[in-house]
């Protein structure tokens, strides 16, 4: 618990109405979207400016109080669960789009801006902010940057990292720095912008960001191909890429996933198919038409049972939103839903999917797999029940094997959800001891008192899961 004198100082910084310490509020910020992680913070602050944040950090650094910056709490790696207590910082007052610069094609935003609001605002000006995580209706840009979020358009457009040009950051010692700028080229010094993107709040607090925008594509088409075998679908993905086409979206869903999405969205997905590919291409009309035609041929050549192009934007949006709801829809099957995001080079999709199925069988688990096939980023998801200790044990073992297999195939333990607390024990599997040491050296030099989001990224011991 915080001493009253500390609380008084915090009130002095942000004002009484922006400090919450009641049990109700503390419980309300004790979780994020990750199952089985919960811990109460001591206080919740809602600062209004970078200066206030700098003052909070200085005080916390003196008093050695942990700080967790939190957007909308939709992350899936327990990255915003305040496991060491301390202070949760909210950005609800820092939620303005400061500028959309149509000459430089940039947007300057505060961290609390909702991702979808930014997307809509720039689209009104004929521009596109491409990163579109499934939670975009709720997630904040600050959260996206800290987690380096991906999304459905990642194959062609990349992820959040590829759209952050510059940042304003408060470092753990209270210094305010500005990295990058509205610049297409900038090699002045270490690339701190890239270091901070995806740092999960462990190196400082992002208070402003300059984001890159691109021209809004002329048109977009969406199509759906169904398969009687998972291998055929995976081969299609490889074939499309090897024929020098880059669709905007190349999403994959297996049969268990299709069944639950159809039960929720009722949009006529074929529940008897073993695999479905959701494919989108955007760009100039002629290019899109040509690509969709060629992709249709490739699908058919790889034994697609049906290939359908969405008639209009409404049909297309239905397909996209159904895919976005995949995770939460699987949650209907069982009380607890555990989702991972093992990622492999896209040429290894078929072997990875096969391995996941074998592992599921070995541990007698139902695993729904969906994900960004074009990125090699899969979401094996297990509907289970946290109260069933015996099954949870099998889930844990299964995921450990999935991670191992992914790394073996040249992949990684997490493609877009982040390490947080959930995957910290597995990080060494990917980086090796030396890799972790290099990261630790950076962390210690910037945050010697370990106040920024402690117990994330760096595990106490490797391999063993923290809570599950």
């Amino acid at each position: 618990m915080l001493e009253q004198s500390v609380i008084n100082k915090l009130i002095e910084i942000v004002g009484e109405s922006n400090v919450e310490t009641s049990t109700t509020e503390r419980v309300s910020y004790s979780y994020d979207a990750t199952p089985n992680f919960q811990a109460l913070p001591d206080a919740i602050l809602a600062p209004q400016s970078t200066e206030e944040i700098a003052n909070i950090i200085k005080l916390c650094n003196e008093e050695k109080i942990p700080i967790v910056p939190r957007g909308s709490g939709t992350n899936l790696s327990a990255g915003t669960t305040p496991l060491a207590g301390g202070i949760v910082i909210l950005f609800k007052h820092m939620n303005r789009i400061l500028e959309i610069d149509e000459e430089n094609l940039t947007a300057t935003v505060q961290p609390g801006v909702i991702t979808l609001d930014l997307c809509n605002a720039v689209e009104e000006k004929g521009l596109l902010y491409p990163p579109d995580p499934s939670s975009m209706k709720i997630s904040t840009i600050g959260g996206n940057i800290n987690e380096n979020s991906g999304g459905l358009r990642g194959l062609k457009y990349g992820v959040t990292r590829d759209y952050v040009l510059g940042l304003e950051v408060v470092l753990p010692n209270g210094d305010i720095i500005r990295t990058g700028g509205k610049l297409a080229k900038d090699v002045a010094g270490y690339d701190l912008t890239r270091l901070l993107v995806g740092s999960e709040g462990t190196l400082g607090i992002i208070t402003e960001a300059i984001l890159k925008l691109v021209p809004l594509p002329e048109t977009k088409k969406t199509m759906l191909a169904t398969y009687q075998s998972m291998d055929d679908a995976a081969m299609t993905v490889s074939a499309i890429i090897s024929q020098k086409m880059t669709p905007t979206t190349l999403e994959f869903m297996d049969q268990p996933t299709i069944e639950v999405i159809e039960a929720y969205a009722k949009i006529g997905l074929p529940t008897d198919a073993k695999a479905v590919l959701l494919i989108e291409q955007d760009g100039m009309v002629e290019v899109v038409d040509r690509d969709i035609k060629r992709i249709t041929e490739i699908c058919k050549a790889h034994h697609a049972v049906t290939v359908e192009v969405a008639k209009d934007e409404m049909e297309a949006e239905q397909l996209r939103s159904a895919r976005r709801a995949a995770l939460s829809t699987i949650a209907r099957l069982k009380p607890t839903t555990i989702l991972e995001d093992a990622t492999v080079p896209r040429s290894q999709i078929a072997p990875m999917v096969k391995a996941i199925n074998e592992i599921a069988e070995k541990y007698s688990l139902k695993i729904c797999t969906f994900g960004h096939a074009g990125d090699g980023n899969l979401h094996p998801t297990v509907p289970t029940d946290a109260r069933d200790r015996e099954e949870m044990d099998r889930v844990e073992k299964a995921f450990e094997e999935i991670f191992q297999k992914a790394v073996e195939l040249g992949g990684t333990i997490t493609g877009e959800h982040g390490v947080g607390a959930m995957k910290a024990p597995y990080l060494e599997m990917k980086l090796g001891k030396e890799g972790i040491e290099a990261m630790r050296a950076i962390k210690q030099s910037l945050d010697p008192n370990n106040i920024m989001n402690p117990l994330k990224m760096f595990a106490k011991d490797t391999r063993k899961r923290v809570v599950l």
Binding site: T23, T24, S28, S135, R332, D385
Partner: protein, 450 residues
């Protein structure tokens, strides 16, 4: 709250709250943008569905005690259930909330005046249709005898909270006792017979809004329905259920099921979104009573809103006409979020010649009426209403249409508060449709002023 009381509440939560339902919430946060109290509170997690479920779970898990803050956050929920259609995991938030409120209410030590008031309203007035009639007739006496004028002039009304004061002004002209008692149990169709329907008349709708009920019967007849009105039916119990009086709600539900189950009807029609939703949920309400569960399900399956049956029977293809006007529609939360009826009212309005339909931004967001919310949380309710009236004005509408008496009164309140009564009116969709279809005695070319 004493610690003993807290312990008792906690034990009741552990015993009664459906833990599977709590676990079904996987905290994805998809509900947040749909929640009016989350937005109104300046994005407070504790004022969101995800937060409230986490708090209930924390009480069950023993992470926290059910303290005053906890009770307040549950009470300040509008219960609009806008979080349910957007929940991909299908969490029945409304059921969790109702159970939690019932527990809190059972352990609450109400002050004597509140006790008396609750008892007279919930036990003696609403469940008894004869008393409802007399009460409404009394209101009529108040309005017509000059007492109303006296009350206003002497400033007695200033003793009441602002929303109640304005509410007193906007109550409809009440029907006489004779009109209310003049009922027939059966009305035959005025065109080719397509369906036989039961009509759930409701308590408020059958008294204070008696005219709307008469209009409903007329529309059903026009659309091709024989209308059966079982005499012994009573209040649906929604007010009780939402206010933590579950046991009384169950008693009312049983009476209604008995009233309708012997009638051979295709549907049971309601014209109040809130009642319809509660009737629709009877299966859940009675699921633990083996003798009743199946009968309740059967009853619930037949529930249909008047707008849904009218569209089904092609009423919108009749010749509907009104003088030129801009019309907008305010969803009844429970009609939309529980009965999932939202296209039909719009379809009907768009079918009227002379009507320019303007969709209101955030039409699906609660207006703040929310049962008795606007009386017990007057200040918060007015904030929701202010937001709503701003959106209404953006549409330039002169007619706001609703499908529930609570929403109707709240919209009238909004019009009165904003001083717009000269150029704007709020009507129940049924009353507008009766104008549009042209009923003897209601010349359709004469737009009514309220």
């Amino acid at each position: 709250m004493s610690s003993l009381q807290k312990e008792k509440i906690q034990a009741a939560f552990q015993e009664r709250i459906d833990y599977d339902e709590l676990l079904n919430c996987m905290r994805c946060g998809f509900c947040l943008p749909s929640c009016p109290t989350y937005i109104q509170s300046g994005y407070k997690e504790s004022q969101s569905p995800r937060g409230r479920i986490a708090l209930m779970k924390a009480v069950v898990d023993g992470v926290m005690e059910p303290d005053a803050d906890f009770e307040q956050t549950l009470n300040e929920c509008l219960g609009c259930r806008a979080c349910e259609p957007v929940c991909p995991a299908g969490v029945n938030y409304g059921h969790l909330l109702e159970e939690a409120r019932d527990i809190l209410n059972q352990h609450k030590k109400h002050s004597l005046p509140v006790k008396v008031l609750r008892s007279s309203f919930f036990k003696h007035l609403f469940p008894n249709q004869k008393r409802m009639q007399k009460m409404t007739a009394l209101l009529g006496v108040y309005q017509k005898s000059g007492l109303q004028t006296v009350a206003r002039k002497t400033g007695v009304m200033k003793l009441f909270p602002e929303s109640l004061r304005t509410m007193e002004r906007i109550l409809p002209k009440t029907p006489t006792l004779k009109t209310m008692q003049n009922k027939s149990p059966f009305y035959s169709t005025l065109s080719e017979r397509k369906k036989v329907v039961g009509f759930f008349t409701g308590c408020l709708m059958d008294t204070m809004f008696n005219e709307t009920n008469q209009a409903t019967i007329h529309l059903l007849q026009k659309a091709g329905c024989h209308v059966v009105i079982p005499e012994v039916q009573n209040c649906c119990g929604a007010l009780h259920g939402h206010a933590g009086e579950k046991e009384l709600a169950i008693q009312l539900a049983k009476k209604n099921i008995m009233a309708f189950e012997n009638e051979e009807v295709d549907y049971i029609i309601t014209n109040a979104g809130g009642c319809g939703a509660f009737l629709h949920d009877y299966g859940h309400l009675l699921k633990k009573e083996p003798f009743w569960a199946e009968r309740a399900e059967e009853f619930a399956r037949k529930i249909k809103d008047i707008t849904a049956v009218l569209v089904e029977l092609d009423f919108h293809k009749l010749d509907l006409q009104l003088p030129q006007q801009v019309v907008t529609y305010q969803d009844s939360c429970h009609l939309r979020n529980v009965q999932r009826t939202f296209e039909e009212p719009r379809k009907l309005l768009k079918a009227i010649k002379g009507v320019t339909y303007e969709e209101m931004p955030d039409a699906e967001r609660c207006c703040g009426s929310a049962g008795i919310y606007n009386l017990v949380h007057s200040e918060l309710s007015m904030k929701h209403l202010d937001y709503k009236m701003e959106r209404v004005q953006e549409t330039q509408a002169t007619t706001i249409v609703t499908t529930n008496p609570g929403c109707l009164l709240q919209m009238k309140l909004g019009i009165e508060r904003e001083g717009l009564s000269e150029r704007m009116r709020a009507v129940h969709i049924v009353d507008l449709l009766v104008e549009a279809v042209g009923v003897p005695g209601t010349p359709r070319n004469m737009s009514k002023k309220n």
